[in-house]
């Protein structure tokens, strides 16, 4: 899983990526060290709550994109998990969509492995 996230991070403009389950548990992440585990846990918890409320991955939405003055956040449901990408504002959306589709297909192929690898982050 980490390898797929690392490959996603290789897309120009992608700063970090995170995969969490629908309860807000981080399954894997590839973020620079300045994003500590507490930040990522909080992000995953907020994401799971929001995805549930908006029905992301459950008919309510397939992809969510949030734009900020400093960057972008993309959320895509993958199998029974949620994939979040933090990108710079200047990221090429089309290139990102292609990379996201490839990563999504790879992660779809390994849902069992994802479950077995799930290890809660240290608090």
């Amino acid at each position: 899983m980490e390898r797929v996230l690392e490959q996603l991070n290789g897309t120009p403009g992608v700063i970090g990526s995170l995969l969490c389950d629908l309860t807000g548990t981080v399954r894997a992440h590839a973020f620079p060290p300045l994003f500590d585990e507490k930040m990522l846990q909080e992000t995953a918890a907020e994401l799971a709550d929001g995805a549930f409320a908006l029905g992301i991955g459950n008919g309510g939405g397939d992809v969510a994109e949030f734009r900020f003055s400093e960057g972008r956040i993309l959320v895509k449901p993958v199998a029974d998990a949620l994939l979040l990408l933090l990108c710079s504002r200047g990221v090429n959306s089309h290139l990102l969509a292609l990379s996201l589709n490839v990563a999504s297909a790879k992660l779809h192929r390994q849902p069992r492995e994802m479950q077995e690898e799930t290890v809660p982050l240290r608090s």
Binding site: L34, E46, L54, F66, R67
Partner: protein, 244 residues
Amino acid sequence: MTQEAVCRERYDGFEGEVVGLPLADLIQLKGNNRFTGCISVEFGGRQGAIFFRDGDIIHAEKGKASGEEAFHLIMRWPGGRFAVHPKVTTTCHSIDKSWRHLLLESHRLMDERRDPEPASPPATTGGGKGEQQGMSGLTDRLRTIPEVTATLLIDRNGVPVGDRRPETEVLAARGFYLANLGSRLGRCLGLEEATSAILEGSREHLFIYTGKRHYLAVAATGESTPGVVEEGIRRAVAGARRGS
């Protein structure tokens, strides 16, 4: 105290190479440890200084530059030497942003230097009654976009402005929740409020744009292409601005 003085004087502290321990990691460490003092950095004969107070970065200097500009210039250096001076302080206060925000901004600026920035999104801004009137005119223009099924102005409490039909309350709730989710995720990752958000779905696409006092929500059919709809929104915003 100037950066030259910091670098000349000897203080109790730690010296090391920036290579091996990235400066960003050192700043994160000092921020988390509520450090008070100064980190002086030297690279290729150039000198810079970053001042902390209780874990917050309050000032930076690099040559004639100071504040955030100096901080970002220092962060661009690919290596060098740093020294930590716990007892050095300053009366200057040129930076108010959190160290997380500053580091993320530095990351973004470095990224943008490698990748030019695209055109800005069609966020609508303004304030008070003028904003509301301007946006009311805008919603009329938006309704002429074929793929658009509904448009709505929402106040900062999630309440639809003017139109209180049940279907508009549903759109207001989803739009408000989407905008808030963006801002909550942004806060977790050191970003500020989301300026816009898109929720692409098979049944419906939802677009939300943040104004100073209102949100603008636009719903479009799930068969439409979000980029095409957004281009229509962009044109409607431009048209409303010209018309107002």
